[in-house]
């Protein structure tokens, strides 16, 4: 496999989960709720999915794919339920949304590590804070994967990448074509207008944040099956924050956000490829991991001027205020 192939394959495997997480962020923020909690949501989702997977692996054949898919469903459910903390703090108790997001993140790290230890101890009888998963199977599309260069897109594909693309297309449709999406975007621009049109602003926002919980969990689970191949505190590496950066560069719209995610993904994979090529010690890998963040800093300088965030983003909605 050529270096270029590796760059494309690894880049996509990193970028796509980030993309689905960013779409979750877009849903939440377009409805008017600032969501820094993506990091915590993906981690908590991965925890729930990871736990489900290790529990199920004991009773299924090694080659069965059922635990794989069930674990994603469990992750989504876990992420959505966990996002209710953000919902409660921001919507019910009208807390500051930035602080709420940070709280959700910190709590996620503490809670999942604690629970993972207790469960490993109690259920499996081994003291560890990890749920070891097998790396996901991969497949190549016959024919297409032989095309030079772009064929790499169809080579060594994780099943979750396909799932993410399908879900992303579906979410785009929901956002821009359905009444619900229209209500959601209205709530983020002028909740008073939405309210006057008979829309229940708090309900729409609750659903939006839960969607961000579910989509982030897909991302977390994907990382657990690929980059880390386990659930462990390593899942909290800041990819959630990176996806927030991506959606900001993407101006809160879906396709430009995909572009930003791909840039981050390829920056990371080409850095890694470079190190392999130069035969540098693997400790330099850690250095490469900062590439996307460095890129974030640079992009911030250029893009922060002309971003147009949803007008009512982060504002606490108060019916009486005019």
């Amino acid at each position: 496999m050529s270096t270029l192939d590796t760059i494309i394959i690894d880049g996509l495997a990193f970028a796509l989960p980030m993309f689905i997480m960013a779409i979750g962020g877009i849903f939440s923020e377009k409805s008017g709720i600032t969501n820094l909690a993506l990091e915590g949501l993906q981690g908590f989702g991965a925890f729930c999915g990871g736990l489900t997977a290790v529990l199920m692996l004991r009773s299924f054949e090694g080659s069965s794919q059922i635990p794989y898919y069930v674990s994603f469903i469990a992750a989504i459910a876990g992420g959505m339920i966990y996002s209710l903390i953000h919902v409660a703090l921001c919507i019910k108790f009208r807390a500051n949304q930035v602080i709420s997001g940070v709280v959700v993140n910190i709590l996620a790290v503490a809670l999942t590590v604690f629970l993972a230890k207790r469960i490993n101890d109690g259920v499996f009888g081994q003291p560890s804070n990890k749920f070891v998963l097998e790396t996901s199977v991969r497949f190549s599309v016959p024919g297409l994967s032989r095309i030079p260069v772009i064929g790499a897109i169809f080579k060594n594909v994780y099943p979750f990448e396909v799932m993410i693309i399908v879900i992303a297309a579906l979410m785009w449709f929901v956002m821009y074509r359905t009444p619900f999406g229209m209500h959601l975007r209205a709530c983020g621009d002028n909740p008073h207008a939405a309210d006057a049109a008979g829309i229940n602003v708090n309900r729409v926002r609750t659903i939006a944040v839960m969607i961000s919980g579910g989509l982030s969990a897909i991302a977390g689970m994907s990382y657990a099956y690929s980059i880390t191949s386990n659930f462990s505190p390593d899942i909290f590496l800041g990819y959630g924050y990176l996806s927030i950066a991506a959606l900001i560069f993407g101006n809160w719209s879906v396709l430009p956000t995909l572009g930003a995610c791909l840039i981050f993904g390829f920056a990371r994979s080409s850095g890694q490829a470079l190190i392999t090529q130069l035969g540098m010690p693997s400790s330099y890998n850690d250095l490469v991991r900062i590439l996307p963040y460095l890129l974030t800093l640079l992009l911030l300088i250029f893009f922060s001027k002309h971003n147009n965030s949803p007008r009512a983003l982060g504002e606490i909605y108060d019916k009486g205020k005019r």
Binding site: R177, P179, M182, A186, N190, A193, A194, R311
Partner: protein
């Protein structure tokens, strides 16, 4: 329809807010197919009464009958279902949506994709909106985005929103406050058209001419109480004004001859940039003397804002000098200018005039809070704030629900303006700039502000009045300047200019004595 012939009856409606009664036992009936006006000063309770009818507030006491049946209107959604629509003072539009999207929001026409996925049928919606706007003569482009539209078009969108939901009873809350005279004419025509097509219209306003020209009947509110319901055709505007204010109001300000003394403000060759980086004010020069009201007339958007901001220090001059009592203040900061003697009543009350989330007493101290008497050794003296507030509230009759402690955002527009004027006048500066001081206010408040302005002049202040209302200019000015396209093209004693002449200069007619026809220049139209 009930035997009473009323489509709506409000009986003994009382609505209290903490510390005040906004509606006090109000009973009225509105007939189907009439234009019913609601008249009253700022804070009289008009918006509150209509908000009750639209389901935004529940009345504390009283009942509402709709088409003869007793109803409980628990939410705007219920009101909409009952065929009641309302255009609020502040529009409720989603700024990044198209006109169509705004109108259909909440009741979208659907189509099924692949036979089962519901999605918004935008094509049908756009066609519906186009047809609707055609039917009522409210021309709009269904695909235009709200943030690109001017106020008058946005208002049309609000009207279409009601019509799209088949509202039969249409409530307009001060619809003309934000419009130009031509737009007002157009709106009143639309309203007449709506009545003729069978709708019932309720219009809140404090402009008497509008009521005269459009309404069939008119209810007068004063401090929450219903004073009377009048037949418009048989009642004079003077009578309406008297009932509304609760006392006689003089329409003409009785002011004495000006006694101008030394020059206070001298502007020399001033050039100021506008928002777009264009030259909004071009090489303007004039003087104002102590004891003189200099009124600057002009159509909106001809450089007035920039000129006032430059003198007050909110904008820097590109070229030219500004002198106050002989000293050059061109490069001074805003605070230094205030201390040198410039008071400024800005056009934008909410963003420039007040800090809305602050209390009344804080806002009243805004220009002096750091001084001795308001703070001791840089620590704010709350008590001094309160004393100052109490004194000013008394002296200037500023009405609010909680006095000193009222958050200014919760005050009515008229009282917000009173607070700003009180604060600025109290500085006792040699120069006071009044920018559109009476915009959106009722005649009682207007005549008070004019009196205060004249009193300041008589005290010996130089007054710069900038107004879009020609009547106001003619009533108050000692000297009139007319600004067009950033230049002052005429300055003369008020007694030497007729309304028509001023109007012509406002349109940019060249000042050519004799020879040739008058030429109208383009540019600088109302924005």
């Amino acid at each position: 329809m009930s035997d009473s012939g009323y489509i709506i009856e409000m009986k003994h409606i009382t609505k209290r807010f903490p510390g005040l009664i906004a509606n006090d036992d109000v009973s009225l009936g509105i007939r189907k197919g009439e234009i019913f006006a609601l008249l009253g000063e700022n804070g009289a309770g008009k918006s509150t009464l209509m908000s009750v009818l639209f389901g935004m507030y529940e009345p504390d006491e009283g009942e509402i009958f709709l088409r003869g049946e007793k109803v409980r209107i628990a939410s705007p959604r219920k009101a909409t279902e009952m065929g009641i629509g309302m255009v609020h003072q502040h529009f409720r539009l989603v700024s990044n949506y198209t006109i169509t999207e705004n109108i259909i929001l909440g009741s979208e026409p659907l189509k099924r994709v692949l036979g089962f996925i519901p999605c918004v049928n935008m094509k049908k919606a756009e066609a519906d909106i186009a047809a609707l706007s055609e039917k009522y003569g409210l021309k709009v482009d269904p695909k235009a985005v709200i943030s690109d539209l001017n106020v008058s078009t946005q208002q049309r969108v609000e009207i279409l929103k009601m019509l799209y939901r088949d509202a039969e009873i249409l409530i307009f809350d001060e619809p003309t406050a934000v419009l130009t005279p031509q737009e007002i004419e157009f709106l009143l025509d639309i309203i007449r058209g709506l009545r003729d097509s069978g709708k019932t219209v309720i219009i809140i306003t404090h402009k008497l001419e509008e009521i005269k020209s459009v309404a069939d009947r008119c209810a007068v509110l004063n401090r929450g109480k219903l004073i009377d319901v009048l037949d418009v055709a048989t009642t004079s505007t003077a009578e309406m004004a008297r009932l509304m204010v609760g006392r006689e109001v003089s329409f003409t300000s009785d002011k004495t001859e000006a006694q101008p003394k030394e020059t206070v403000l001298k502007v020399e060759g001033l050039t100021v940039e506008g928002e777009a980086g264009n030259e909004a004010v071009k090489d303007v020069s004039f003087e104002i003397h102590a004891g003189e009201i200099f009124a600057l007339a002009g159509v909106s958007g001809n450089g007035q804002n920039e000129l006032a901001d430059a003198i007050a220090g909110l904008k820097t001059a590109v070229r030219g000098r500004i002198y106050l009592n002989g000293t050059d203040i061109t490069d001074l900061s805003i605070r230094k200018r205030t201390e040198a003697g410039v008071a400024y009543i800005p056009e934008d009350r909410h963003n420039v005039g007040l800090v809305l989330p602050f209390t009344l007493s804080e806002n009243l101290a805004l220009k002096r809070y750091y001084k001795d008497g308001f703070s001791k050794k840089t620590i704010i003296d709350r008590k001094a704030f309160e004393e100052n507030g109490t004194r000013m509230i008394e002296e200037f009759d500023i009405r609010s629900s909680r006095g000193n402690k009222t958050v200014t955002a919760a005050m009515s527009g008229g009282n917000q303006q009173k607070a700003i004027i009180a604060r600025e006048i109290a500085l006792k500066t040699p120069l006071i700039i009044f920018m559109q001081p009476t915009r959106g206010l009722d005649i009682g408040a207007i005549s008070n502000i004019h009196k205060q302005m004249i009193a300041e002049r008589d005290r010996g202040a130089a007054v710069l009045l900038i107004s879009l209302e020609l009547d106001e200019i003619m009533d108050c000015a000692d000297t009139i300047g007319v600004i067009f396209d950033g230049r002052i093209n005429r300055i003369a004693k008020a007694s030497e200019l007729s309304v028509n002449e001023v109007g012509r200069f406002m349109m940019g007619v060249e000042d050519k004595q004799g020879g040739g026809t008058n030429k109208v220049r383009t540019g600088g139209t109302a924005s």
